[in-house]
Symmetry: C2
Subunit: 267 residues, 2 copies
DNA sequence: AAGTGGTCTAGACCACCAT
DNA sequence: TGGTGGTCTAGACCACTTA
């Protein structure tokens, strides 16, 4: 297990001290693990050292380590596979589909159960530009007005019907080296692309929705009639430590689709 | 502690066996605790016997019991208060406000932080009727078409501006004894009212939203102009065991407010 | 068969709350 | 002071994966 021992050596800097007084021991352990991930000592997809090893290195009991790992698994930062090991979570197509893409074909029967129709949308890039952040985007992304950003417009279709128009703003500093060619040639989900190509993991987002009338651009891009009501969703997506990394505005044509959400216990 | 011992005796029927083979031991324990609550042996607000006592009665270790309780606390079925005890959760005004009422005044700055403006809406009852369930409502609530239901329309205002029109359908069988007078005279949040008066606890909900143009009724009730776009939200609220208990359609006027949601790890 | 995570135990000690 | 939940320990044993 050469890779593992290398990882442990590299991880030593994160794992040999629990000095940060973050309250209870398991929270300090959790913070130490997060530090290993945020500092890219452990990369998405990597296997962690075994629980026994980490616990030993940190000088805590295995139960305490497990409590910390439990929380990170729940937050989808880590993934456990019985018999194999614990891994830094990778964004899968399914995770994107079920967690972040929340548009579903209209159901006649509400309580019917699992949506049959959760298909992956077809994505077309409408425009890709390098611009300067306006006030709203800078505010959301914690940049200064005028900082360089990429502005990407995508059109998403389900069953060949244009349903969503996305307007995405990301920091050009954070996504250093991104260009239209790389973006167009990506072979995966956009959040997977962020993660594998730029090391940016989207963990959760906050959304605000309102009803609007189709703008001229929406009429053209979505092919809807003037006066059509649409849902406009503003999303701020966050990475570790609540760091905002993507500012997105989506226009959703809800003639045959719904914007779906769950209302359950807050985290 | 007379009340406690009575509760334990009553609870014996739930707590003396773990026969239901629900997989691992702590899951069986969790199910046993849920049974005590669902069968109303323990009522909302009641204090549970101490962890030591329950663990002893069930013949499991305290760690195993705690794991079961941990999950129920996370699902907001139980509440722990250090030094005092563990209690069956009661719906508070705050829980309604923060978890289930998801309309907030528009913020100019998105990432600004905690919404300053989360005020409790003023609620007016527009109509209260006993009707027969139509197909959609029956479907959602797992009733038969034509079963008796209560249909309640409420108008919600924030800062004296009408913002939401709620259309609520609940089973008259489940809410036996409800009438307009009792509904109007309730002194609390609607979900708190369901819980304290009818023993029905709303745990979570699933919502589907779409943009619509204001109907004649919305124009009249919300005082908006014809052609105004609104968000229509259909909510199915569930109690224990995924039992649907309330079917609600809300029209939201989003001129100065947003429909807000979090996108985080699924449960 | 060896290594991993998954479950469960039987304690110890601490922090908080009531009286 | 006595009871409650909160944290932590150091194991044992099981189930799953890989070789």
């Amino acid at each position: 297990m050469d890779m593992l021992s290398v990882m442990q050596d590299a991880g030593t800097k994160c794992l040999d001290r629990l000095s940060q007084d973050g309250g209870s021991l398991y929270l300090q352990v959790k913070r130490a693990l997060l530090t290993c991930i945020e500092s890219r000592v452990w990369l998405p997809g990597d296997q962690l050292p075994s629980e026994t090893l980490i616990a030993g290195q940190l000088g805590v009991s295995i139960g305490t380590l497990r409590r910390a790992v439990d929380e990170l698994v729940q937050e989808q930062v880590l993934v456990r596979r019985q018999g194999k090991g614990t891994f830094v979570a990778l964004h899968s197509r399914d995770r994107y589909l079920f967690q972040f893409f929340r548009v579903e074909a209209r159901e006649e029967r509400f309580g019917a159960g699992i949506p049959s129709d959760s298909e992956y949308p077809e994505v077309e890039c409408v425009s890709f530009e390098r611009q300067r952040a306006d006030e709203a985007a800078a505010d959301a992304l914690r940049l200064r007005t005028g900082d360089p950003v990429f502005v990407i417009q995508n059109r998403l279709s389900l069953k060949r019907r244009a349903v969503v128009l996305d307007h995405i703003v990301i920091s050009a500093t954070l996504f250093k080296g991104l260009n239209e060619k790389r973006f167009l040639e990506r072979s995966s989900t956009i959040y997977n692309f962020y993660q594998t190509e730029f090391g940016i993991t989207v963990l959760h987002a906050r959304e605000r929705a309102r009803a609007v009338l189709a703008s001229r651009e929406a009429i053209r891009r979505l092919g809807v009639a003037p006066g059509t009501p649409l849902i406009e969703v503003q999303r701020l997506a966050h990475s570790f430590g609540e760091r905002p990394v993507e500012w997105r505005t989506s226009l959703i044509y809800t003639q045959q689709h719904d914007y779906v959400s769950d209302v359950s216990a807050p985290r």
